[in-house]
């Protein structure tokens, strides 16, 4: 058994397909490159050598199996070759500068070898000679294989596969935290399980901090005031106003209105819910409205000029007028609170104009009025 085991192992010198060690292909190629100067020397040396030892009459060419003529130049490279037989197995041209690459018993010029067998880099697409990094189902130049996030060279430090990307260990931890919807502590660089504390724009484990007032280790409900962190208890004791809308403390600008305090962005029009942001608001029955909606809802838009009425309002027939525009709807004579006027299609008409109406119209208007009175509508 032991006698046969040896040769068999030599015969089947195969590597598993997913092996990360360089395959015999690259070992062989590396040997070829390493000995490149030796090849040229070898050829020259053999030419001299063979011209002296013509006694090998039965020697044949490795390629064509023919013998050699007496004064013919012979190449010796793992066997003897006619010079015209010692060519690239692919392009049948002599090897440039005598350099060749051997694979599965055939010899190739560098160009054809690369085209046929050399891996190309997954990043830059160039052929790789020398060290090959096999990773992520592709080959890479060592300097081309970098972290997807921070571009650190990964060849020696190792990497982690994350959603089809190669990441360094730090970046992977960060990405993982993000993917879980969790924060990455800015202090200890690990994922924050549970609540985080925002402090100067970065997330932290709350336990890295203590209350500025009582010194207790903070929880996620800690609050900031004047650049210091406080536990909720201490914070609430400092007399901070509470917003009338969201019931949470107001840490920035405070709006005082309607007898309450508000976050600037929570003090809004009761109709359109847009914040006033310092613009004038109008109060009605404990609610605040923006100018447009106050007038729209409470009808203070002048029927003539269609503008919002600032100042005194004349109201009649479900309409409103500004001081300048409250006039007879026919002769445009200005009217005051004391002026008597008639209703005509829900518009005010002064006595002068009403008297000028034709008798038949006045008769109809009176009849309609009388009927309305009778029906109890007026």
């Amino acid at each position: 058994m032991s006698a046969t085991a040896g040769p068999r192992r030599n015969l089947f010198n195969l590597q598993p397909l997913d092996a990360t060690t360089p395959s015999p292909l690259f070992q062989r190629r590396r040997v070829a490159v390493g000995e490149e100067t030796g090849h040229e020397a070898n050829i020259l040396h053999l030419e001299e050598d063979l011209s002296a030892t013509m006694s090998l009459g039965n020697a044949v060419c490795q390629r064509c199996n023919d013998g050699f003529k007496m004064d013919e130049q012979i190449v010796n490279s793992s066997g003897l070759w006619h010079t015209y037989c010692f060519v690239c197995a692919q392009c049948f041209q002599p090897f440039p500068e005598g350099r060749f690459f051997e694979f599965e018993g055939r010899k190739y010029c560098e160009h054809d070898f690369c085209v046929l067998f050399a891996p190309s880099c997954g990043k830059c697409g160039e052929f790789i000679s020398g060290r090959v990094i096999k990773a992520m189902n592709a080959s890479w130049h060592p300097e081309c294989f970098r972290c997807f996030c921070c571009a650190k060279i990964l060849a020696d430090e190792g990497f982690v596969k994350n959603q089809g990307r190669a990441l360094c260990k730090d970046c992977n931890a960060m990405e993982k935290a993000k993917g879980l919807g969790k924060y990455f502590c800015f202090k200890c660089h690990s994922i924050i399980d549970g609540g985080h504390l925002k402090w100067k724009g970065e997330a932290y484990h709350p336990y890295h901090f203590n209350c500025h007032s009582c010194g207790i280790e903070l929880k996620e409900d800690a609050r900031e005031k004047d650049g210091e962190l406080y536990c909720l208890r201490c914070h609430d004791k400092m007399g901070i106003p509470i917003c009338g809308a969201c019931r949470r403390p107001i840490e920035e600008r405070v709006v005082h209105a309607l007898g309450k305090t508000w976050h600037v962005e929570h003090f809004v029009c009761a109709k359109c819910e847009k914040p006033f942001l310092g613009t004038r608001h109008y109060e009605k029955k404990g609610l605040a409205y923006c100018e447009i909606h106050y007038h729209q809802l409470f009808g203070n838009i002048c029927f003539v000029c269609n503008n919002i009425i600032n100042g005194d309002v004349f109201s009649a027939f479900n309409k409103a007028w500004c001081v300048n525009h409250f006039a007879c709807s026919i002769c445009d004579k200005k009217m005051s609170q004391k002026t008597k006027f008639f209703e005509f299609d829900q518009k005010p008409v002064c006595k002068n104009c009403y008297d000028k109406f034709p008798g038949e119209l006045k008769k109809r208007l009176k009849k309609a009025y009388d009927e309305a009175v009778k029906a109890g509508k007026i």
């Binding site: 479900n318 026919i330 002769c331 445009d332 004579k333 034709p358 119209l361 029906a375």
Partner: protein, 272 residues
């Protein structure tokens, strides 16, 4: 007479020169008002209760006019140039003898209030583009001769006030339901028997709204609802029962009620 008018025009010029009120001055022809043509900055022109029979086309030269009141004159026709006034917001030509509105009138770019009360207008006398007046917020058409309101009324999306008092309307189009901003509707004194169920979209019930519908020969179920109140009328026309009855009523194509009002005594009818 003329000297008196001239003084009034001069007074106006001495003031801001933008408003001219000549009410009940016996004016027959606008062009005879002395110095009128020089009032180029006029924004308001009030000529109610005069004897004016026509409006000169060059009224369009007064480019700043925003308000024109010609109530109670004897105008039979308005100039087509009227619609080119770029700032005209309020036009009151009530109580005249208009049988039509001028061609292209719907092109008025800014018109907000149009009062054509007490004329001789009907659906046949409106220009084709009339319902392009989508800036209108109030349309007064009481005391005219409409029998059918064109369905294009639904295009006047900004309408808040619509007066159709004492016309000859026999039905209202379902497009009325698109006038969602309407808060005042007068349809009293017509020949209406039913309301389109689509009018249930309108919000005319409440203290801020006006809905006048007396003096129509309503079908019994609607008349009964009017007895108990306007809110009941609107609740009723929104009901499926009513939608069914309305569909049947329309399919039956009953003859409309006859005209009951004698309009021959209207002063808009009197011929020169």
């Amino acid at each position: 007479m003329a000297s008196k008018l001239k003084k009034l025009v001069d007074d106006s010029k001495e003031g801001s020169g933008t408003e001219l009120d000549l009410v009940d001055k016996g004016i027959v022809n606008i062009l005879e008002i002395p110095g009128f043509a020089s009032l180029k900055n006029l924004t308001k022109l009030v000529l109610a209760h005069n004897k004016i029979s026509s409006v000169p086309p060059n009224i369009a030269n007064f480019l700043n006019l925003e308000i024109i009141v010609l109530f109670n004159n004897i105008i039979e026709e308005l100039p087509t140039t009227l619609s080119s006034l770029p700032k005209l917001k309020i036009l009151n030509v009530g109580m005249n003898r208009l049988n039509s509105l001028p061609r292209g009138f719907g092109a008025c770019p800014m018109l907000e209030v149009l009062d054509v009360t007490y004329n001789n207008l009907s659906e046949n006398s409106l220009p084709a583009n009339f319902f392009c007046l989508d800036t209108l917020r109030a349309l007064y058409m009481g005391d005219n001769d409409f029998e059918h309101l064109p369905p294009e009324i639904g295009r006047l999306k900004n309408l808040q006030v619509l007066v159709l008092r004492e016309n000859d309307l026999v039905e209202l189009p379902k497009d009325m339901g698109e006038l969602t901003r309407l808060r005042e509707l007068h349809i009293q004194g017509n020949r209406l028997t039913v309301l389109p169920p689509e009018m249930g979209n309108l919000d005319l019930v409440g203290t801020k709204q006006v809905f006048k519908a007396d003096g129509n020969p309503w079908v019994t179920p609607i008349a009964d609802q009017f007895q108990v109140g306007i809110s009941h009328v609107f609740d009723y026309i929104r009901s499926d029962t009513y939608k069914f009855l309305y569909g049947r009523h329309i399919a039956a194509r009953a003859d409309p009620p006859p005209k009951s009002v004698d309009k021959s005594k209207k002063i808009s009818r009197i011929k020169k």
